[in-house]
């Protein structure tokens, strides 16, 4: 249990996917203008991450590993994710129209989100068990959502600020991201301190 909490919190806070691993920067910079769209994108990414992990883990464990095909993981994982996002979009559209109206907008944007592929490859490389992988994916998704939400707040302040013309747009957004990332650095070591310290 302690290991799981450690994985969850380090994926969420200390090793935040956006702010310290730089994965999923495109949606982070592109879709973080408003808090509700940040929340929508974050939720959709979290769900896709967990479900993608559910789909890729058995394939990795029972197909790639026994047949010594680990080097094919990139091709296999991206295919599964692309296929799966497509199916998920169709299923949600058909079965849960209200959910589709809320989150469906973000689904096509997720296929090429490097955070989703990143989390599956990272968990495979770390040789996590099934439960650990799911926990890692959940932590990564929650961390992504948190970063998006916090950043949308920061951004609503910088958007109307009077700054030099050259800094308008992307540069000011990146520098704001730098400040948020600096704030997250304050968490470094905190997850290990709380959950990992006892075992030594």
């Amino acid at each position: 249990m302690k290991e799981l909490m450690l994985i969850l919190f380090s994926a969420m806070i200390t090793d935040n996917f956006v702010l310290s691993k730089f994965m999923g920067i495109c949606p982070f910079l592109g879709v973080s203008k408003k808090a509700d769209s940040s929340l929508g994108m974050g939720t959709a990414v979290t769900i896709v991450m967990i479900l993608a992990q559910l789909c890729t883990y058995p394939v990795y464990k029972f197909f790639l590993l026994p047949f010594d095909l680990v080097y094919l993981r990139t091709v296999v994982f991206i295919l599964i994710i692309a296929l799966f996002v497509q199916i998920l979009e169709m299923a949600v559209k058909k079965l849960f129209p209200p959910l589709y109206r809320a989150l469906g907008v973000y689904l096509p944007l997720i296929t090429t989100n490097c955070a989703v592929l990143g989390v599956t490859i990272l968990n495979a490389d770390n040789e996590y068990t099934f439960i650990e992988s799911i926990t890692g994916a959940l932590g990564a998704g929650l961390g992504f959502t948190a970063a998006m939400l916090i950043f949308s707040g920061v951004r609503s302040r910088t958007e109307n600020a009077d700054i030099p013309a050259a800094f308008k747009g992307a540069p000011s957004t990146l520098i704001a991201a730098s400040v948020v990332s600096l704030a997250f650095m304050g968490f470094s070591g905190i997850a290990e301190g709380i959950f990992g310290g006892f075992g030594g």
């Binding site: 702010l19 310290s20 691993k21 730089f22 994965m23 999923g24 920067i25 495109c26 910079l29 592109g30 879709v31 203008k33 408003k34 769209s37 080097y71 094919l72 993981r73 990139t74 091709v75 991206i78 295919l79 692309a82 296929l83 907008v105 973000y106 096509p108 944007l109 296929t111 090429t112 989100n113 490097c114 592929l117 990143g118 490859i121 990272l122 490389d125 030099p164 013309a165 050259a166 800094f167 308008k168 747009g169 992307a170 540069p171 000011s172 957004t173 990146l174 520098i175 991201a177 730098s178 400040v179 990332s181 600096l182 650095m185």
Partner: protein
């Protein structure tokens, strides 16, 4: 509306192409994928703690980009339009795996330093973007030149960012100690990466006299057609 005029303008540029050299040089300056189009931000920020890493990543991505552009340009009549994106992704992922294996065999040190970001070249939007907007519409030779130019532009941007971060953050350049008494370690950390890239893009905007206002990675994303009307809702 802005996007449409942008896409139209790009199409016009392709139609009046002024020789092959243009295909190569546009990626370096005018349409630099990282500093002007703001694509491929993840590797730009992640691996540029050292200038040498930037070059390694740039060359790996260029290799994938040139090969995938060449193959996609040859197969453009064979690939059905409705499933073109998955097809492109599989081709790209194949070349990424190839690059990964080559790098593991010949440059194990660089392979370890690039780590997870090497397989993530698959989802680098520069490569999918060039496949969608250029290679699938042009002949073999222009596609290869386009790939070389965009790759060189990407490498140059990574090298620039990497140099700035390494000099300021570690007081060395390409591993050579510059004898700076107290380097600012924050530039090697993630926060410094965002800051350095922001300042570099601002400098590019200032020099080129244009502003990157209202422009985000989405506008040149290969999936723009499939979610153009949706993006306006967001």
């Amino acid at each position: 509306m802005h996007t449409e005029s942008l896409l139209h303008r790009k199409k016009m540029i392709f139609m009046n192409e002024k020789g092959m050299l243009n295909e190569f040089t546009k990626g370096l300056l005018k349409e630099n994928p990282t500093l002007v189009s703001l694509l491929g931000m993840c590797p730009t920020l992640a691996v540029t703690t050292m200038a040498a890493n930037g070059i390694g990543m740039g060359i790996a991505a260029t290799l994938v980009l040139v090969c995938s552009n060449a193959v996609i340009s040859c197969l453009k009549k064979v690939i059905p339009d409705s499933v073109r994106l998955p097809c492109f992704i599989v081709i790209i992922a194949g070349f990424v795996t190839l690059t990964e294996l080559i790098m593991k065999g010949f440059f194990p040190e660089l392979y370890d330093r690039l780590g997870i970001y090497l397989p993530l070249i698959t989802v680098n939007c520069i490569i999918l973007g060039r496949a969608e907007s250029f290679a699938s519409k042009n002949d073999l030779l222009p596609s290869i030149l386009d790939g070389l130019g965009m790759g060189a532009g990407f490498t140059a941007a990574l090298f620039l960012t990497g140099s700035v971060r390494e000099i300021l953050g570690m007081g060395s350049w390409m591993g050579i100690d510059l004898h700076i008494s107290s380097p600012m370690t924050v530039f090697v950390l993630p926060a410094g990466g965002f800051f350095a890239l922001g300042c570099i893009i601002a400098a590019v905007n200032r020099l080129s006299g244009r502003s990157s206002e209202d422009k985000n990675g989405c506008e040149k994303c290969p999936c723009i057609d499939s979610c153009k009307e949706r993006i306006q809702d967001i």
